[in-house]
């Protein structure tokens, strides 16, 4: 009896803890949504607060975003396009490399793997100028190719796919070879589908990275028609007048696609990370 009571108490308290934690976590976002429904003068007058004043609340800020000629949806579209292309390509090439490092033994393999780990540790900030010069030399400035290409093989993803591929059944490899598949065919037709959970997990992380990517696109992209959401937002924020109306409602809308992606791939996320995903 006593033990049962104990479990009941801990059960309630654990669930309460999580509910509380979630409320605290979502609180800033709730503030953001609330602020997006008020005119920005309210924000400046009273700061960020929880007041629910129906008189001043409206969807005007959102309507403003949808008005013709608003550049917000250009940015939104660009970000979405970049997200799809860069995530797809990064996953493809990173999985290829990770797979190669995991299933074959060849000269220089360990050196390559150490290099992958090394790149993970180098901040992009320290080599901005030389990297920019390189994109100039390759004539990919002001293009999405310039945004994507330098990072098309993501070290974190390579690391992850390698760990995952280590756990793939080797027997399948042999039987496929007997069937006459090329090595690349084996990867594409047999192994890639088996790595689906890993793709799910990495899709979330890469999509998130692409959606919020700021530093590099800003250096490469030179025309406003090509800008992405984070760059656009940052240019609305300035000491010369912040455009809060657009900024905050735009920010709320901007979170939505990435949440959808998360919910969509969520079930793969855990299982992807699980199956031997991260080991030492």
């Amino acid at each position: 009896m006593n033990k049962k009571q104990n479990t009941a108490i801990s059960k309630v308290s654990v669930n309460m803890l999580f509910i509380l934690l979630c409320l605290v976590t979502l609180f800033p976002l709730f503030c953001l949504v609330l602020a997006s429904l008020k005119p920005s003068t309210e924000l400046l007058r009273f700061g960020l607060n929880m007041k629910l004043d129906v008189h001043v609340m409206s969807f005007k800020n959102y309507a403003y975003l949808f008005q013709g000629g608003s550049i917000y949806f250009e940015w939104f579209k660009n970000s979405l396009l970049l997200l799809v292309i860069s995530t797809a390509l990064t996953l493809f090439f990173s999985s290829m490399v990770g797979y190669g490092l995991a299933v074959y033994s060849f000269k220089g393999k360990n050196v390559l793997f150490l290099l992958v780990l090394f790149i993970m540790m180098v901040p992009l900030e320290i080599m901005m100028l030389p990297l920019f010069k390189m994109t100039v030399a390759l004539k990919i400035v002001d293009s999405y190719t310039g945004v994507i290409l330098p990072f098309i093989v993501a070290p974190v993803a390579v690391f992850f796919f390698r760990q995952y591929a280590l756990g793939l059944p080797k027997a399948l490899l042999e039987s496929a070879r007997v069937d006459g598949c090329t090595e690349f065919g084996i990867f594409l037709r047999i192994m890639m589908p088996l790595m689906k959970p890993a793709f799910g997990a990495m899709a979330i992380l890469q999509a998130m990275g692409s959606w919020n990517n700021f530093l590099w696109p800003l250096i490469v992209l030179r025309s406003k028609e090509m800008f992405t959401l984070p760059i656009g937002f940052a240019s609305l924020l300035s000491p010369y007048g912040n455009n809060y109306d657009l900024l905050i409602s735009g920010a709320v809308l901007a979170v939505i696609p990435i949440i959808i992606i998360f919910l969509f791939f969520q079930k793969y996320f855990i299982s992807g990370l699980t199956s031997g995903g991260i080991k030492g």
Binding site: T41, L43, L44, R45, F46, G47, I85, A88, L89, F92, M128, L129, F132, K133, V136, K139, I140, V141, D142, S143, Y144, T145, I148, L188, R189, M192, P193, L218, I219, R222, S223, K224, I231, A234, S235, L237, S238, P239, Y240, G241, N242, N243
Partner: protein
Amino acid sequence: MKRKVSCVLAVLLVISLLSGCSVNTASGPSKSKTTTLTYWTFNGLHEALFQDAAKNWNKVHPDRKIKLNSVVYPYGQMHDNLSISLIANQGVPDIVDIEQKRFATMVKGNQVPLVDLTSLVAKDRDKFVESRLTMYSKNGKLYGIDTHVGTTVMYYNMDIMQKAGVNIDRIQTWDDYVKAGKKVVKKTGKPMTTIETKDPNNFLPMIVQQKSGFFDKNGKLILNNKINVKTLEFLRDMVYTDKVAVPTPGGNHHAEEYYGFMNQGGAGSVLMPIWYMGRFLDYMPDLKGKIAIRPMPAWTKGGDRSAGMGGTATAIPKASKHIDLAKDFLQYTKVSKEGNIKLWTVLGFDPLRWDVWDDPALQKENKYTAYFTNGTSLFNMLLELKDEINPLYMTEDFPAVSDKLATQILYKTIKLRNETPKKALDDAAKELE
């Protein structure tokens, strides 16, 4: 299985198409007579000014039409991008706005990457407020055209002044100002003003007013000279001895906290340049009709009553492919008389050329004049001040000194009060040597 493969191929195809069509076409030769000029700025208002100018330019110059490809970047990032591009000598815009603080770093070294613009102002040089030209010159060559004089003035909240029984026209010196401040505090319980602790918008005009600055004419650091120490002590005393001022909420007069505070009648006055008028309009709507603009108090009777602060210079990188056109367009937009009138009517800034200050267009009613109690007579007042604006000498270390003030000196002496002005300035001068 096949579908997946073709999916990947499709993506690759899209990418190759993208790379195929995305090579920069901005500055390539075009078939028609229209030339595309790229213009970078960090301020959406400036974009409006230049786009408006381009429209009018095309009417006057049908043979040299311009398509202005303007890009508004975030402030810091635009300058960072420009630094990188100037060093790489690639990917530069044809026309670019450079903020005062960052300007000195862009003209660093023996090979200035910007075009010499001295010839643009040669004809009417005496009509310009000269100190705004000196600021963007190096070895006698002008590299940027400013957007405004930035005449620093005192904005008074007349509600508070009237309640306290202060006649602002009687305030002539800083001593008068402090005395009036005490009255305000006593009668209304509100501080007379706010002192920035994260930006030098109080400190700098107050030392320039006394012909001091960060550097002397020869570029020698004079940050810790007697005038500067005395001025910083004066500011600290306003807060802690005379108790007429408070440190600015949020640290500077651009903080959200400050806008909210001031909008609710938080302080009696604020010291800022003319270009700050726009901020009143945008962020302090409740003060409409209550704000009066007056010259800065002087240090002695008959002393200088203003200083030119802030600024954004428009420059042309040497790597631009259309230097001549860019120069003529810049002359049209910011050097000509008509252009200078627009600086007021479009942006609400005090134009560089004082010979337009008494132009009827500048006395006309507009949203700026409607907000301030003495809006229409503003430029008559500025005309009185035009010879009281002392030059501010810049070197490539200007941003470092300015940042030291913003992050260390003002914070330690006014906000925390754990260091004396003398020690803070001496220490900073030593580190910057």
